[in-house]
Amino acid sequence: MTATTHNDADHADDHHDHGPELTGIKRWLFTTNHKDIGTMYLIFSLVMLFVGGAMALVIRTELGQPGMQFVQPDFYNQMVTMHALIMIFGAVMPAFVGLANWMIPLMVGAPDMALPRMNNWSFWILPVAFGILLATLFVPGGAPAGGWTMYPPLVLQTGDAFPMLIFAVHLMGISSIMGAINIIVTILNMRAPGMTLLKMPLFVWTWLITAYLLIAVMPVLAGAVTMLLTDQFFGTSFFRAAGGGDPVMFQHIFWFFGHPEVYIMILPAFGIISEIIPTFSRKPLFGYTSMVYATASIAFLSFIVWAHHMFTAGMPLTGQLFFMFTTMLIAVPTGVKVFNWAATMWKGAMTFETPMLFAVAFLFLFTIGGFSGLMLAIVPADFQYHDSYFVVAHFHYVLVPGAIFAIIAGVYYWLPKWTGHMYNETLGKAHFWLTTIFVNLTFFPMHFLGLAGMPRRIPDYSTQFADFNLVATVGAFGFGLSQLLFVWIIVQCARGGKKATAEVWENPVGLEWTVPSPAPHHTFDEPPVVK
């Protein structure tokens, strides 16, 4: 034998004993498999949806009739703040990361995410972050109550919860960044041979752009909350007017992060809808390339519209005009998308299974949110609408029948691929109709309340607003209860049911439909070649 160099030989013998597959809790604690981690993200997000939803029901219960009935004003403010933080960072964002974890490697033909151990970390940071955030409910002074935007000087009046809030936000940011980096590296480096950028599925494209946005704006949030911390505890005056600081500048910094954050929560939704509509229209997506460019345009514009959140905070007329026009400009790429989806359906052999029903509802209801956004972009009109229930109606239309409907549509669309079973279609359709009716019952009256002058973030209101508030409260409880049906459908599908084929639907396009259902623990042991 002539072995001039021993590379693995010295270690190879040690490796003979293949470690036993982890089982039980250890499997979930130490897993590096993208499917396991995707599942954990989705379950975590569902739990947070119910936690945040319960807080929303506290809010709606109090608002069911005028006067103070159930909670103290301070606790009401805590619920408003925590509801927003939990829904944004705990429900919507992790749900999209979960879908990305499950589907991106399957869609690009990769065996796993590029950095699997980091993937495990990025998930497990989240329960810690939200454990800390929820623990603030039990500390002296209660949970943060100054709104999710954390404007100083109000937020600096938070009690013992303040440093916990900042730490939790940092942890959420770290988790998001790790997730975004992993997604970027996976998409760029692990695509199957032949899969050029312009052959990637739209869901992958939208996530690539979302991850780019996350990388660009997360340091801004981290810097902003750190400056709040140093203002509070280390004597700095970044935002303290008494020390020469500028509290309005915090609003600029926050919204420089906050507006791209809005698109972080909606771009992956666009990707999901772009996968579902062609499948159930039995036609290729109309205008694929224009969809990619429209997504990139929306991402670019998201950096130059932030001050439309603060027209009433005071700014020069030129600033108002600039931010008004750039905001309106977003309607162009968004319109491209909406028209492309409509054109995809045009003369298609459409069927309306549950994912398609949610996708079509998304199209209508998200567009309502888009239109009310256009109304809010008009400076003189915004002076009237600002801080009213019209704003609440607007962003809930964008985030609930927008982002959350897309997530639900995605779950129904890919659930058979994950579990190997078809879900109960009848129950799925019942879930859709209940959800759609109640979501409109909840949020549509808020437009009228806002136009009639009802301010947001108040636990009590004038009797003239009573009727629409009661309708919204009934709708909120109906919406919340309808989601229990969603949980039941998922559990039922995971436990059994009609076997799903590899394709699941009729001739869907994409690599994820070439692997068996359920997708095996290790997929694409051989990179598929994309032609």
């Binding site: 002539t2 072995a3 030989a9 490796h15 003979h16 480096n189 199957a192 780019y212 340091p219 801004v220």
Partner: protein, 160 residues
């Protein structure tokens, strides 16, 4: 393949070229640092260290993944010996291992591995040299079949 000589080139899948990785990173770094510097000029310097740390992390991740994708191995099987040449992205120069053909067998062995499963190895006298770590399970299985076929020629019987 020369007469009696078989050559196998094994290479990891890597969709990104070094140039593309640098171009992508430069683009994102310019935007992220540009934003951070803008805030620094206004006195809000704490944004900068976060942007720097995040970009360093991204650079590490891109580099680690890209380098893992550069792993390459060449197997040359002659009538009397097998030469394994490895281009490990973490090593400065390629390394070479020479094994006597008549004593060497190919086998799928169980190893402790992040993704579990079997690894393909060439072995003789109880020692194993794992090859194609970066290949997928199915690719390893196919290579194992092919290597066994080649080693079986000239009277060698493998795998055992």
């Amino acid at each position: 393949m020369e007469s009696g000589r078989h050559t196998f080139n094994l290479q990891a899948n890597c969709a990104l070229s070094a140039r593309q990785a640098v171009a992508f990173f430069s683009g994102i770094a310019a935007v992220s640092l540009g934003i951070a510097v803008l805030f620094v000029t206004r006195g809000y310097w704490p944004v900068l260290p976060f942007a720097g740390a995040e970009l360093a992390f991204l650079a590490w991740a891109l580099r680690a993944s890209w380098r893992a994708g550069q792993a390459r191995e060449k197997l040359v099987i002659d009538s009397d010996e097998i030469v394994i040449t490895r281009w490990d992205p973490n090593a400065e120069a390629p390394s070479t291992t020479r094994l006597p053909r008549s004593w060497t067998k190919a086998a799928l062995i169980e190893v402790r591995d992040r993704r579990g499963g079997e690894q393909l190895a060439l072995g003789q006298q109880g020692r194993w040299w794992v090859i194609g770590r970066f290949l997928g399970e199915e690719e390893r299985r196919r290579l194992h079949q092919r290597l066994s076929q080649v080693l079986r020629q000239n009277g060698h019987i493998g795998p055992r």
